[in-house]
């Protein structure tokens, strides 16, 4: 069973979702929790069985799918994907457990389980087309969640979300086909296997074009400036559960894909585009932080803050050294936990008041002290306070990029300032001051259902901030082999310099051993 655990992880929720059609409405929630719980335990088992000392792919599975065109069902996890998978199962569980939605809950839970399938699939896929299949299919459940349970502008928001990402990924698909064609030219065989592609050393000008093609797909998903405008709408209209999953997992697909595809496939292009992308990342960081500051709706603040944080992740990814990339992978997890929790928190207040405007609130700290506390912790995590989960990632990402550019890192570092500005001012508007609105005086503090989701997140946010090692170590090992691979493949002199050579280091696997 352990040999096929990834297949199990991917298709168990989908199967369960199908069976879920039979379950009656009043017990579907319990069913959903049970399924998501089992799935989560399975993913923990995966972690348990994972050997953190091995940097390459583990639990690999292979089955022919369309061998005539080089498409095979290839799965595997390494330190980079392992934890995002666990994060996906974790958030699905938490999302379902703390679900407060009343309308058509059966459809919602079934949709969520399908979504879980696609999320796990994306991160476990080792074949570009299989990856693409899950990547695209994940749009569908999300579309439905936003469109059916969302706010007044839900249709606009969901369609925008769908079409925007869909367009980007189609360009990416062309890139993938190109990549396969190059592989075909080089070896005489079709293959979409990512690990096979890793072996390919492409001429630099091809790398540039392919990088751009892949970039478009990823950048829209992340979303990077200026392709980000779908996100505020999606978040603004999505129901709580939708925002949580979207922010915590779906956005990570883009950044994950950068690490999985762009870096190892196109090392020279990565170096070539490093500075432009860093500039975009910095724009994301500062500009969206400013936009977040101007928001009137607290959910939009969190939404824009997501973009801002994704900027740091991108920056870390394009640091192209172990510190930066490990940091960005870690920050993906961190941001998942923190932004997911923040969206859950916003959902709490939305459920009570059906508004998210900060001007409607004020003084919540005295009416809902427990809520204010958890919100405060998560806000401080989001701001990147040391000993919270975000800090580790942000610190490493910035540290990594500092190696590449002092000035840009200095500029990007303003993240810690602007981030504090919008977060603290939002917190102040909503929680501090006197209770001015009569309706707020009777608000009930956070209840048990809501705590079920928030307490574990709070614990994780602090636990991993204090002791990130169990996660950082496997990430580090896998990232090291990616970086070494990039160094070995790099052709231009600049790339050779920019990407560190780790081969001298003890315990670092060479390319052949790792893959």
């Amino acid at each position: 069973m352990i040999d096929h655990i990834l297949t199990l992880l991917i298709f168990f929720p989908a199967l369960a979702a199908m069976l879920g059609f039979v379950v009656t409405k009043d017990s579907i929630r319990a069913y959903g929790i049970a399924v998501a719980g089992i799935e989560f335990l399975l993913s923990l088992w995966l972690w348990y069985a994972y050997d953190p000392m091995v940097s390459g792919m583990q639990f690999m599975e292979a089955a022919p799918l369309i061998p005539a065109f080089g498409i095979n069902y290839l799965l595997g996890v390494d330190g980079i994907s392992l934890f995002i998978i666990i994060l996906s199962t974790f958030f699905t569980l938490i999302g379902i457990a703390s679900l407060t939605e009343k309308r058509r809950i059966k459809d919602l839970i079934i949709t969520l389980l399908f979504l879980e399938m696609t999320m796990v699939g994306v991160f476990a896929a080792l074949d570009a087309i299989v990856f693409y299949v899950f990547w695209e299919f994940s749009l569908v459940p999300m579309l439905y969640i936003i469109g059916a349970w969302g706010g007044p502008l839900r249709i606009y928001a969901s369609v925008k979300f769908f079409l925007y990402t869909f367009t980007g990924s189609l360009v990416m698909l062309v890139g993938m086909l190109f990549m396969a064609y190059f592989y075909y030219q080089a070896t005489g065989q079709w293959s979409f296997a990512i690990l096979e592609w890793y072996r390919l050393i492409l001429p630099e000008n091809f790398q540039l074009w392919l990088f751009v093609a892949f970039f478009l797909g990823f950048a829209i998903k992340v979303p990077m400036f200026p392709f980000h405008t779908w996100l505020p709408y999606a978040h603004g209209q999505a129901p709580t559960i939708g925002s949580v999953i979207l922010a915590a997992i779906l956005l990570k697909m883009g950044t994950y894909a950068f690490v999985r595809f762009s870096l190892p496939l196109f090392p020279d292009a990565s170096v070539f585009f490093m500075i432009p992308i860093a500039v975009i990342a910095i724009i994301m960081i500062i500009y969206t932080a400013m936009v977040a500051y101007a928001q009137e709706d607290i959910k939009q603040v969190v939404a824009y803050s997501s973009i801002s944080h994704m900027g740091v992740i991108i920056l870390g990814t394009f640091a192209l050294n172990v510190e930066g990339v490990s940091g960005s992978v870690f920050l993906m997890l961190a941001h998942g936990v923190v932004s997911g929790a923040l969206f859950l928190l916003v959902g709490v207040i939305y459920d009570r008041r059906h508004t998210k405007l900060m001007s409607e609130f004020g003084g919540l700290a005295s009416v809902m002290p427990r809520y204010a506390t958890i919100f405060g912790i998560m806000m401080m995590a989001s701001v990147g306070l040391p000993l919270t989960i975000n800090f580790v990632g942000e610190f490493l990402s910035l540290l990594g990029f500092y190696k590449q550019s002092h000035m840009l890192t200095l500029t990007a570092g303003t993240a810690i300032i602007v981030g504090a500005i919008y977060m603290l001012s939002a917190y102040k508007k909503a929680f501090f001051g006197n209770v001015t609105n009569e309706e707020n005086k009777k608000l009930k503090d956070i209840n048990k259902t809501e705590l079920v989701g928030l307490i574990p997140l709070t614990i994780v946010a602090i636990w991993l901030g204090v002791y990130p090692k169990p996660i950082l170590e496997p990430i580090n090992n896998s990232v090291e082999s990616v970086i070494q691979l990039m160094h070995d493949k790099a052709q231009s002199a600049e790339a050779k310099v920019r990407i560190p050579d780790l081969s001298g280091k003890n315990g670092t696997n060479t390319m052949q051993e790792a893959y």
């Binding site: 500051y293 510190e323 490990s326 002290p369 570092g413 300032i417 603290l424």
Partner: protein, 628 residues
């Protein structure tokens, strides 16, 4: 000894966590007592460690790995050496006192339990800050104290001004923290480690330019935390917090973290004397600058806050000039008397129902004897009168300036010493002497609880006698810090300087007394002095907060609004929508091609054929021409 280290470190954390369990319950005395007790434990452990360290040992321990990736290895490592143990003593003493004091001070506050949670958490952060054996750990504490400072300044969160001040403090500190972070990055990429011992032993191998940058960026971090110009405005606003907080955080401990950083990083700053001179100059400037603002202020706590700022300037002068041990010594002495001063001010506030304007007080010495004595003595110490603590530490800094031939700095500091004495006793005179102006406002002042006064007494004792530890202290820290003695070798000069300074200070005190001890009315802004340009300048803090508001805060808000409404919605998003709408509109506009009329349809077919034929002919002609 590691056990004591951990006790000293974690006892406050335990206290904080314990208190936070009760954060939402109604006030419960035991919370305060237990938290104070735990802090006392921490103090005792620190003392044990002190004796151990005085025996010539140090304790260095690594609790566990924190971050390890690539070449980066950051453990939770702690070191108790000659410098950190001094800081530990200061922190634990002052915080124990403040904790006990707070039991009384926060007596009637709804957030009593919450207060202790925050306060103990602060102490824990501060302990991490001083005990860490690497820059990253320092940064943990650095941010941790920032967080607690935020929570405590904004403790009365329903007050707009308090929460505003809390955010201001946090954000200002963040600006500086960025500098610190960059400094840490520089250290890592050039040394490959963040451990103090590694960094300090290898720093000499680096290029001077890089060392300079490291020094500058680390100092930027220090500037924020220690509220040096131009990041000073938050400190005065931070007085919105409860007074014990001001005593502990914004006088004795947190704000001195910057000084501690420079002292700790002395091997770096030793190599870059130019930066040192800059630090010293800035320190001298801030000393004078802050003191000048204190001259006219009418808010008791703010006056003390400016005085703190001014004293921090002194410390930076010493540190910048390489007299690290002197800086640390003044830090310690200052912690005692300044905390005392603040706690005394807290008593006054309690008595006056949170009235802060000393002009509305007067004659309080009759009802508040204990407080009066303590505050007067603390002010004396602050003014640097022999044989109080201030004399030994502050005058030493003047000497340092003199000995190092920085006469401008020396002059500035001397002048500031006079100003310090003046505004301190202006305050004392206005509060405790003269007519009982508070009666106009119908206030019935009363002395604070006995145990609060008792709790303050250790500080009083220390404020008086701390100077006598000078040689013991010097013996202790010279293991770690450059052991330069600063003596004016010419005896005549030495005596002239010392006595001259004393006389100057005493004159300032007397002047203050003369001017303010018989004050009878509450100024209403009509006097000639109040209308003068300088008064207004000082009164408005050189218009700096206003300038920040106009130059940074408002434009930032405005820019943010523009970024959202104009750029994000009207340009970026509108472009995307325009593309989509453009495609849709094209469809709308061209759908009449299919107008359902068969004739039109047939014509389209013929048109298509004709176009194709024409193209065929054209191509053929072109083909033949080219072919021929």
């Amino acid at each position: 000894m590691e056990l004591y280290l951990y006790i000293a470190l974690f006892a406050p954390l335990v206290g904080s966590l314990y208190s936070s369990l009760f954060a939402r319950s109604p006030k419960s005395q035991q919370v305060g007592i237990i938290a104070s007790g735990l802090l006392f434990t921490s103090f005792v452990s620190s003392t044990i460690l002190l004796t151990y360290v005085m025996g010539g040992h140090t304790v260095h321990t690594e609790m566990m790995t924190w971050i390890a990736t690539g070449d980066l290895y950051i453990p939770f490592g702690f070191v108790v050496d000659q410098v950190s143990v001094v800081m530990m003593m200061v922190v634990t003493i002052v915080s124990t006192v403040v904790h006990v004091y707070s039991i009384g001070y926060m007596d009637h506050d709804k957030g009593f339990n919450r207060f202790f949670a925050w306060l103990s958490a602060f102490v824990f952060s501060m302990m991490v800050l001083v005990m860490s054996d690497n820059f990253a750990g320092l940064f943990i504490g650095w941010e941790g104290v920032g967080l607690c400072s935020w929570g405590l300044i904004g403790f009365w969160y329903h007050k707009e001004s308090a929460t505003w001040a809390a955010n201001e403090a946090f954000i200002m500190n963040r600006i500086a923290d960025l500098g610190m972070l960059i400094g840490i990055f520089l250290v890592y990429w050039n040394v490959g480690s963040l451990q103090y011992d590694v960094v300090f032993s290898e720093i000499g191998n680096l290029q001077p330019v890089i060392i300079t940058w490291i020094g500058i960026f680390l100092f930027i971090g220090a500037m924020g935390k220690s509220a040096q110009f131009p990041l000073h405005t938050w400190l005065a606003d931070a007085m919105e917090g409860p007074t014990p907080v001001s005593a502990l955080i914004h006088a004795a401990t947190m704000v001195t973290a910057g000084v501690y950083l420079v002292v700790r990083a002395n091997p770096i700053y030793d190599l870059i004397p130019n930066v040192g001179i800059f630090i010293a100059s800035l320190g001298a400037f801030v000393a004078l600058f802050a003191a000048s603002m204190a001259l006219v202020n009418r808010d008791m706590k703010r006056i003390i806050a400016y005085s703190t700022l001014s004293q921090l300037g002194y410390m930076f002068v010493a540190a910048g000039l390489g007299a690290y041990w002197v800086a640390l010594f003044h830090l310690m002495a200052h912690a005692f008397f300044k905390a005392l001063l603040f706690l005394g001010a807290g008593n006054v506030m309690h008595a006056m129902h949170d009235e802060l304007d000393p002009f509305k007080m007067g004659g309080l010495r009759k009802v508040m004897k204990g407080t009066f004595v303590m505050m007067t003595l603390a002010s004396v110490a602050l003014a640097g009168i022999y044989p109080f603590a201030g004399f030994f530490s502050k005058d030493l800094i003047l000497e340092v300036g003199f000995v190092e031939h920085h006469y401008v700095i020396y002059t500035v500091l001397l002048l500031t010493a006079g100003l310090t004495a003046f505004y301190s006793f202006r305050l004392v005179a206005l509060i405790f002497h003269g007519e009982e102006r508070y009666k106009l406002f119908g206030i019935h002042p009363h002395e604070a609880y006995k145990f609060m006064l008792v709790a303050m007494s250790p500080l009083l004792v220390l404020a008086i006698i701390a100077g006598s530890f000078k040689m013991t202290y010097f013996q202790l820290v010279m293991n770690l810090l450059p052991a330069t003695q600063y003596h004016v070798h010419d005896h005549t000069t030495f005596w002239i300087m010392t006595i001259g300074t004393q006389l100057f200070v005493i004159a300032a005190i007397l002047f203050a007394y003369k001017k303010y001890s018989n004050w009878s009315s509450v100024p209403d802004g009509s006097s000639a002095m109040e209308k003068s340009f300088f008064y207004k300048l000082l009164w408005n803090q050189y218009y700096i907060p206003k300038m920040y508001e106009e130059i940074f805060a408002k434009p930032y808000a405005e820019l943010s609004r523009i970024a959202w409404k104009q750029i994000d919605l009207k340009i970026v998003d509108a472009t995307v929508d325009a593309i989509a709408n453009g495609i849709y509109k094209t469809g709308e506009n061209t759908r009449d091609i299919q107008n359902g009329n068969l004739s039109t349809m047939l014509r389209w077919m013929v048109v298509g054929l004709v176009v194709l034929s024409i193209l065929a002919v054209a191509f053929t002609v072109g083909y033949n021409v080219v072919g021929a």
